[in-house]
Symmetry: D2
Subunit: 346 residues, 4 copies
């Protein structure tokens, strides 16, 4: 049994890690930290855990945490993560970081979108943890930069087209909708039930959302050329889920049938990517609570434009589930271990 610490356990991604790891046969959660709730049982913060995980939350003292764990998940806000990750690495621990701190390989880009990076030394060791794109490197990694939720849905949706060199790279637009858990568990008026309910709205429109450089970095690597896209996130009145509807012009005209074939072959053997048959479209409700990414590529025959629609659960494939998938790869466990649960529908 490997021992697991979750740093920043009283947010939604922390809770989701506990939920998933609870059914994982090869690991045991041994340490949970929370600055706000230190001293309380995690099951007093989240009643769902009562009787199954009643660990007492502690303050984040990196050395003490490292003593209790073989693998550490950091579910902290950006900046807070890179303040502690170096210590964990120095003490020989494997780290899976769910923050943005190690996702951008160029510290100058990080600086432009967030703030000055304080741990550039470890950036090179970090592997961007999208198993479908970078499985081999993940297996040998000590530090995983776990991808953002929007990027996961968009990169998986675009990878086959970009690898095939089929797209006009100036034409990409990603229009995404997310559930409210994406905003985290902090008390903000904007996230109140009565502010969110019955409201569908854009935010961070015009290329200002911080996931933009992360998406572009990965799309550029796939394309072998610099990609700039327009990315518009929206908030939908639901707990979980991200659906991205992605648009692009092909260099040469194509058909839905050819695209479905391309995607099916590209993702053949992938345990968590489902390419839908022509005529089926994804829904966030069909992946809710599961680690799947459902993808439907198609062509708008009237304009020739390609449309790719992809759906994930933002807290699972978009965060904690993908983190466990990465852990499995790093530790030599079967990749799907602990992640076999089907979506909870309805």
């Amino acid at each position: 049994m490997l021992k697991i610490a979750i740093v920043g356990a009283s947010g939604y991604t922390g809770l989701e890690l506990i939920r998933i790891l609870h059914c994982h046969p090869e690991v045991a959660v041994t340490c949970l930290t929370s600055e706000q709730n230190a001293g309380k049982r995690i099951s007093d913060v989240f009643q769902t855990l009562r009787g199954r995980c009643d660990i007492v939350l502690e303050n984040l003292e990196p050395v003490r945490v490292a003593e209790k764990a073989d693998i550490i998940f950091t579910a902290l806000p950006h900046k807070a993560a890179m303040e502690v990750v170096p210590t964990f690495l120095k003490l020989g621990k494997k780290v899976i970081d769910l923050s943005a701190d190690y996702r951008l390989s160029d510290p100058a880009v990080y600086g432009a979108w967030y703030e000055p990076h304080i741990n550039p030394a470890n950036l090179k060791k970090a592997v961007y943890g999208l198993p479908e794109i970078r499985r081999a490197k993940i297996k040998g990694a000590k530090l995983i930069a776990n991808p953002g939720c929007y990027p996961t849905s968009i990169i998986l949706g675009m990878a086959p087209l970009l690898k095939a060199g089929m797209l006009d790279l100036d034409s990409i637009i990603a229009d995404s909708a997310s559930g409210v858990t994406g905003a985290g568990r902090s008390a903000k008026v904007d996230s109140l039930y009565s502010e969110v309910n019955e409201g569908y709205r854009a935010y961070g429109a015009g290329g200002v959302h911080r996931h933009t450089p992360e998406i572009e970095q990965e799309l550029s690597l796939l394309a072998g050329k610099t990609v700039r896209l327009t990315f518009t996130p929206h908030l939908a009145p639901m707990d979980r889920g991200i659906l991205s509807t992605i648009y692009g012009m092909p260099k040469n005209s194509t058909t839905t049938g050819k695209l479905v074939k391309l995607y099916t072959e590209f993702y053949a053997g992938e345990p968590f990517v489902r390419v839908l048959p022509r005529g089926s479209l994804p829904s966030t409700s069909f992946v809710r609570g599961s680690n799947f990414c459902d993808i439907a590529p198609l062509v708008d025959d009237r304009t020739g434009r390609i449309i790719v629609i992809s759906a994930i659960d933002n807290l699972v494939k978009g965060a904690s589930g993908q983190a466990v998938q990465n852990m499995n790869l790093m530790c030599g466990f079967p990749e799907t271990m602990g992640l076999e649960g089907l979506a909870l529908f309805p």
Copy 2:
């Protein structure tokens, strides 16, 4: 007091007409029809009306309906509308048709997207009832083709740009999300609470939604040239509202500030269009129950692309409210009469 008949009163747009007209000081609803519920009081179908509108629903016999009304709203499925509208017109009644039957000026286009048109003779008399674009003609019309919900949000969002000739006409993409009332009140598994809740999904993707030709007809008229767009509707887990996020490349680079100025001037004096200041974005919840269309135009500076976001209540500005606005224009009432109610938020 003008007398009003609502044909097809037991659907959501019929109910919404009753709700709005209840507070209109110059008209009285005198006749309601419903094939399914004939013989019942409308207030037994919709308990919200009890004690305020208890009219008994009757079968649709066009001559009898016409005898009871000066103005007739047809809130019927397509085809059913054009089966009765000619009779109403022949008997000298003003008709506001909420179906698709008179929206497409070319019967061949109607035939290609719906079925053969059985009343092409009246197509030329029909005025597409978007007051912000065609107010003068509406005032003199006998037959209004009340616009569809998606088209209303997209046409109002695009009109200033197209009129100004600023856009590359091949670049337009409209990505829209709608509440569930857009699917009407018929009993379908797909519209059940538990099927819709927590689900955000595309439908009719790839240029197959029937609002596509209606949008293109009006955008083409505004541009003075043929426009083809990619239009992707989505279903969001909420009752009401449509938000369209529309993308297009400008011929020459522009700025958010210039766009806000352009839109503000274009819609100056319009009672129901609100151009938002830079930094504010629309939400369906901010127009819920009201006749407003809120619009925010902006530029994605990194790609140069224009993004316009517009929000309406699909049952009000997208259907029954706009129908009443058209009635006011046709009858010489103040345009905002009965439509002054603010959004119900939360």
Copy 3:
């Protein structure tokens, strides 16, 4: 035109007052206060108001507020209300207080459930503003204690039975469910969308909710004897609405038919109470946005127990709508003025 000030305008009941009064032909809102948002336009706090009510919020300086208004609505937390109401009264203004501060006629009871009362002198002048029970006194009042939301639904549900002396007074149980707006607009984790959604739960169970003494005071007055009840509030995942299901044993066995007759006669002529016919039951969605209270009384024939179900919109008949109804009575306006809007359904 009477001039209206709303003190504490940036909460949900403040917003709802603005929404309702916007369509009232005899008054104009002239002053809005908010400590948190002073200096901002109210339409920057609530985008629904843009272009229709753009008043700048000011700090609460009682004398200055009084200078600008004939009638003052205080939509403040308890205690904050009684700190300013005396000044308004002294300056000759009519006050409608939406807080709890003047609802309990006995300051000792207030002290036991809230904190020491600092303005007992005005308690005797205050009239508990439930028009269906106390219309005559309201007409002559200078200070209205606007009833709580739960109390409104329960008192209106019980009044006919208690007046008729039909109930065993030890047997009353009120089981109520409320939408989330009842918790106000403050940023609390418990009110976040993702905490509330898909959750139905009790709170304040066991006779500890502060509306308990208010309910008992009014039920006791109606019964002419002391009434103690068990009251359990619940939170339901919705914005608005309160539905109370109230249980009691009759002294002598009765029937649903007799109860419907009793209630229909008791509330004959009431503009905002609808007694439903046998077989119809209320729903919060049928009164949403309206000032109605829908009531269905019935008998459980197997146990002989009486069940009364009543539904209101907590922000309208449970707060701001009732406050306007009281204003109409105090000012000699038609009682329904500004309150004729039908429910927004769906």
Copy 4:
């Protein structure tokens, strides 16, 4: 590996059985039936299953089904179940029936609430499958009458009090709220998203809901005397969950502390019942997707009344999860096998 057939697989309880059994290591689903969808893959009916369970649905031919399975779950409407269960039993199969057909031990009671019973012979063999009350009998059963959702929440909530003989048996009232999945997956206007959303309402009030005799049968057995209760079900705008708030007068006054102790001892060792500590109250969202029943007993000190609040997921502990728990007991598997998943929150 035992082979499992699910008869009536395209409803929500059928889907939930598939979801739960997918992670059960000792069984394999081998046969699914559906009259409506025969010939389709189950994963075309429920996209959540794609790639994990793609069995083709077949018509219900009892002999053929029995050949393919060791254990048969019948997830059919009442009456349809008892038409096929006798054949399954005759062929030596173990049956877990999720309908109401074998829950009422007296066929006359069944006849009074449903219709004439056509298989009274097997009623005596049927064991009412509530493991916390009847574990030993379940282990040896051939036919399980799987309890209803409301009854599960109410019986578990009341059992300790009734066994202890503490309650005035004439005083029991159960006020329950359910999510919409309780109404099944059939296309009905009443279950449409827009009809349910923002609505909280009672239905079947006055002792007419068919779960009433089932609840009374079991409460009477626990009490050793005939129990009549008032039971009012409500519909809440959410997918899943039942919360019951149950009221009763104790024969002698008691305290919350004593009740928590009584319940904690009564349910000591139960894997799926969690008695909450004083001050914590259940929510449907805390058990969503899990097999837990959370219970909080307390006393309203002002009236002396006992209040017990219990919450389950209606599709799990209220249906399919409990059915699997029963299967585990019948087959000698660990009782919690396949049911260890924690609630999906948010």
